[in-house]
Symmetry: C2
Subunit: 200 residues, 2 copies
């Protein structure tokens, strides 16, 4: 006698497939959903069905968008000579919000991670190379996370891009706003000292 | 120019409705889903659609089940004279796993919580009273969480059940298996001392 209904177990299994959702959390979510009106569940189901149909990859920058080319790639006011390389689509809104970047983007779709079997050919690196060869790109900004995989990918890309005689930069390292010197790690502090700026 | 596609934003909103899922987690889940094959998303959507149709409330104990009455209520080997009151359906499999209980259950659908506006009339308490009046129940075990809402509900129910001349018990308090005396809180330790058992 199985104490949990089959349809419930099935939905729990579906939720367990999501990253960071274990069996206990999945169970909690599904029991919560069961208590909601049916329309809520149908609305969520609809959302899941639609998302893959309505969201496409921009054929230029490979971000998720509802247009192809995406609003940034098709915007004539954006400077096509500066290319910002990011790991994932969701990094773009964060950079856009700063208002400090007026160029275009290139989404890799991940980071090089030999341990997880993500080799350069699994990312949009060949596409980046092609893009750099055909267009008048003058600078590539590597906006990748300052961690192991991000550093590996940055080094790999820097070598590739330099060989095409294009300037490569990366985001500055240093103390984040509101940080406490007392608790800063050595590498961040070292970067902050090396990258120090004159106070004018 | 909104940087996030609409279908994507919609699905993020749907996930944000779930308990414990904030906008950042919802975003992470949805971007993960976008990278999965379409069949995965349809399978999840199907699960959401089905669950409310296939899962019903048992008309006797009010648990979620795929049968009505549920397999426990319709099992003649279960002792109908002992009733275990739990807050939620998902508490039942946990108690069943112990194998220490052979009676039947009653699911309240929550706990009394004046702060959250959950008053006794929002729970299956009138139904419990009706069940106790009609059947030959000899003992009610209150298996509610040992926290503020659980205690409030236990006190409320104990008064009600005693007025019907039925024995009321609650789960024992004490040190959990593998606990360290050093780190036990005072209330647990007090309960463990008061409820001490003779070593035979």
């Amino acid at each position: 006698m199985s104490p949990t209904p089959r349809a419930l177990e099935r939905l729990i299994r579906e939720f367990t497939k999501l990253p960071g959702i274990g069996p206990k959390t999945a169970e909690r979510l599904v029991y919560y959903l069961l208590k909601q009106p049916k329309e809520e569940l149908i609305s969520m189901a609809e959302g899941l069905r639609q998302v893959k149909d309505e969201v496409v990859n921009c054929s230029q920058c490979f971000r998720f968008s509802d247009q192809n080319p995406c609003p940034i790639c098709s915007n004539n006011k954006r400077d096509k000579s500066i290319l910002c390389v990011v790991a994932e689509s969701q990094n773009i809104p964060v950079i856009e919000k700063t208002g400090a970047f007026a160029g275009v983007y290139h989404v890799l779709g991940g980071l090089i991670s030999p341990l997880e079997g993500i080799t350069p050919d699994k990312l949009k690196i060949a596409e980046l190379e092609k893009r750099l060869k055909n267009n008048g790109v003058k600078e590539v900004i590597l906006a990748l996370n300052p961690d192991l995989d991000g550093e590996t990918t940055s080094l790999y890309l820097a070598k590739l891009i330099k060989s095409l005689n294009i300037k490569v930069t990366r985001l500055a390292r240093g103390l984040p706003m509101g940080a406490d010197l007392e608790y800063a790690d050595e590498i961040t502090l070292e970067s902050a000292i090396i990258g120090r700026r004159e106070v004018l």
